[in-house]
């Protein structure tokens, strides 16, 4: 039978296409996970990207060790992907902490350094202050570089320990908080998502409501719809150009979180408008008629009947938008910068995870690190996906019986 053959052929092609889509996904996600998973751990998520140097002012005060030598040996808080133990640890009484010597190496550099491997509970290090007198934290795994102006470079572990012991009164210790993590990028990403959605979602949804529910078909609506269509087609690099010239330079908002999120909000507008419009259009006219015939105002009709029916569609729009913000790179590169720090104010620069991944791939050629950041991004995307799925199922009025 000709039709059966044709149908089976078509079915085969459909299965094939779906298979391709799925295997592409598995392949990509697999690639990212295989390459990057080795780098992802708790430190990766909780540390800043750049290492940070501190001068800590500490009172000299003898504290004896409360654990035995064996237990001290077990304490190796450093990251064994980059660092391997050479000597120690040795416990130093007058700072109430143990230090160890390790080699640090990644694909470009290789050198020796001293790290703090253990800190006693009442060690003087626990109430250190920085040079302005503010309280500061020193953790295990911090690199210790000099004491009272004397560098440890070239010293053996014993010499260094002796040097520390010989100091009296106040100690000025130079410590380095290790970097290599993406905490600041995660936080910047969340800020960026939140800010741009707060700007774009009301604009987009209300705009779409105007287009579908109020505007009479004509030149004006066509203009807006066409504008939205064009906006959705404009590459984000052009938005980046615009954002750079308008927000950054003309409005003097600097390369900053605010410039970035305003730019991204414009990118999001058409996505939200279009999807919301589509969602609103699928709400049957009979619902609107029914509501109006009951003496509801247009606004009541929209908010009580039409919007609730369109919620799943709008949730999809929001999801797409979040994906877009998380995934945006070209525009943000030009408007929010590549600085891997938590933006202190709306006007501070900051790099999102994606920008960071791009930067790492481009500048350091470090595909593993880019993939590790990719894993974090994918996990965030999955979590958001699940959340919005749950939300939209909860909100779908047609599902309830």
């Amino acid at each position: 039978m000709g039709r059966k053959v044709k149908d089976n052929f078509a079915k085969g092609i459909i299965y094939l296409a779906t298979g391709i889509t799925l295997s592409v996904l598995i392949f990509i996600v697999g690639f990212i996970f295989v390459k990057g998973i080795g780098l992802v751990n708790f430190d990766f998520l909780t540390r800043d990207f750049n290492e940070k140097v501190f001068y800590a002012f500490v009172q000299n005060e003898d504290v004896s060790m409360s654990i035995d030598e064996e237990a001290l040996k077990q304490k190796t808080p450093f990251d064994d992907r980059y660092e391997s133990l050479i000597e120690g640890p040795i416990y130093v009484d007058n700072i109430g902490a143990a230090i160890a010597k390790v080699t640090y190496k990644n694909n470009a550099t290789e050198h020796e350094q001293l790290v703090i491997s253990y800190i006693e509970k009442n060690s003087p290090l626990t109430n250190a202050a920085d040079s302005t007198g503010k309280e500061m934290r020193i953790g295990t795994d911090y690199v210790i570089q000099s004491i009272n102006g004397t560098d440890f470079e070239g010293l053996s572990l014993d010499e260094a320990a002796a040097l520390i012991k010989n100091q009296s009164d106040e100690l000025k210790i130079k410590v380095v908080q290790p970097g290599g993590g993406v905490k600041s990028n995660i936080i910047t990403t969340l800020y960026m998502v939140l800010l741009s959605l707060v700007i774009a979602i009301p604009l987009g949804i209300f705009g779409a409501i105007y287009l579908t529910e109020y505007a009479k078909p004509g030149r004006f609506v066509n203009t807006i719809r066409f504008a939205a269509e064009c906006l959705s087609g404009i590459p984000s690099i052009i938005f980046g150009l615009f954002g750079m010239a308008f927000f950054v330079v003309a409005l003097k908002l600097q390369i900053s979180l605010l410039s970035g999120s305003l730019t991204v909000a414009i990118i999001l507008l058409p996505v939200i408008i279009r999807s919301t419009e589509e969602a609103l259009k699928t709400v049957p006219t009979s619902f609107r008629e029914g509501s109006l015939a009951l003496g509801a105002t247009k606004l009541q009709t929209i908010f009580k009947v039409v919007l609730p029916c369109a919620v799943p569609g709008i949730a999809t729009a929001v999801l797409l938008s979040i994906g877009r913000v998380v995934g945006e790179s070209a525009a943000l590169l030009l408007t929010a910068g590549t600085v891997a720090q938590i933006p202190g104010t709306l006007l501070s620069p900051g790099s999102t995870l994606t920008v960071q991944a791009y930067y790492v791939a481009k500048e350091e050629g470090n595909i593993e690190l880019a993939c590790a950041i990719g894993i974090v991004i994918i996990v965030i995307v999955i979590v958001l996906n699940i959340l919005s799925r749950i939300m939209s199922d909860k909100l779908d009025v047609f599902n309830k019986k």
Partner: protein, 293 residues
């Protein structure tokens, strides 16, 4: 009476808020358009560079005052076309599978997978392209490098999948079930129902997805930058030639360019812009004439 008046006033105010929001889209488009065109047309208006050599030149050497983008236009168009050719059918058929053929559980899983694919930033596609596709193309290529039109096409084809799939799928699911019932009752098979009734009924939504897909392909920058090669000159002559799409040209040099060089990068943006407009117009026309009767 007072209450009615107040109610009316509120309705009016909120309607105007809605209108205002809708206008923001237009205003931002106008602003961007004005800004890009103002800068992009300046060199031709002030005659500091000839439009003709800009559009037909095949070499881009800012230092030697050579700004030809013809080879970039060809590259962009070919890459987009190739990506659409591969990506769109796969995407639409996947959408059909999800909406029409998969059981509710399998459908959910695949939809989730597609949304996941959509959530992966383009940069990671670039990293993937750099890590897998470029080396692979290098293996089969008669040329000595893997950065090529072909690699770009593959990366872009993958990147447009989720956009086209999810929008097509939404519009397929929105087709009323009465159409399907009517078709089945006439002895049509599932496949016939899908291809003759459901797909045509969802046409406008699918087209929207395709437009967005084209937009994504032609406008993609960062992922492409890592796999296309970005040569200084040369019209691509085979799938294995390197290309320099319009977008990466802008992204590579915008950071520091100044004067005519900067303006001509905006001009590159104008060309991109015009392409998007043409595509939008064309697709609008197609959708209208097909659905109109």
């Amino acid at each position: 009476m007072e209450a009615i008046k107040r109610k009316k006033l509120r309705e009016r105010i909120i309607e105007n808020i809605f209108l205002l929001c809708a206008c923001v889209a237009v205003i931002s488009l106008l602003a961007i358009t004005f800004f890009v065109f103002y800068n992009g047309l300046a060199p031709f208006v002030s005659n500091s560079y000839s439009l003709w050599s800009f559009l037909t030149g095949v070499e881009w050497r800012p230092g030697s005052n050579m700004y030809g983008i013809f080879y970039m236009i060809v590259g962009s168009v070919l890459a987009t076309f190739g990506a659409i050719l591969i990506g769109v059918p796969v995407a639409i058929l996947t959408a059909v599978f999800i909406a029409e053929m998969a059981g509710s559980r399998a459908g959910k899983v695949i939809r989730f997978a597609v949304e996941l694919l959509a959530g992966i930033p383009s940069v990671l596609y670039g990293v993937f392209g750099l890590g897998i596709i470029v080396p692979y193309v290098l293996k089969i290529s008669p040329m000595a490098q893997g950065e090529s039109l072909l690699a770009t096409v593959f990366v872009l084809a993958i990147m447009i999948l989720p956009t086209v799939v999810s929008i097509s799928e939404t519009s397929l699911s929105a087709v009323p079930k009465e159409y399907r019932e009517g078709s089945y009752a006439l002895g049509a098979s599932k496949i016939q129902t899908i291809f003759r009734v459901v797909l045509p009924a969802a046409k406008s939504g699918i087209m929207t997805g395709v437009i967005l897909g084209i937009g994504r392909a032609i406008g993609e920058t960062m992922a492409v930058m890592l796999v296309c090669g970005n040569p200084i000159a040369g019209i691509p002559t085979s799938l294995f030639s390197q290309i320099r799409p319009l977008t990466t040209n802008i992204a590579l040099e915008m950071g520091y360019a100044s004067g005519v060089h900067q303006e001509l990068l905006y001009s590159t943006g104008v060309v991109l812009f015009v392409f998007i407009m043409i595509i939008n117009f064309a697709v609008n026309r197609i959708v209208k004439t097909k659905v109109g009767n």
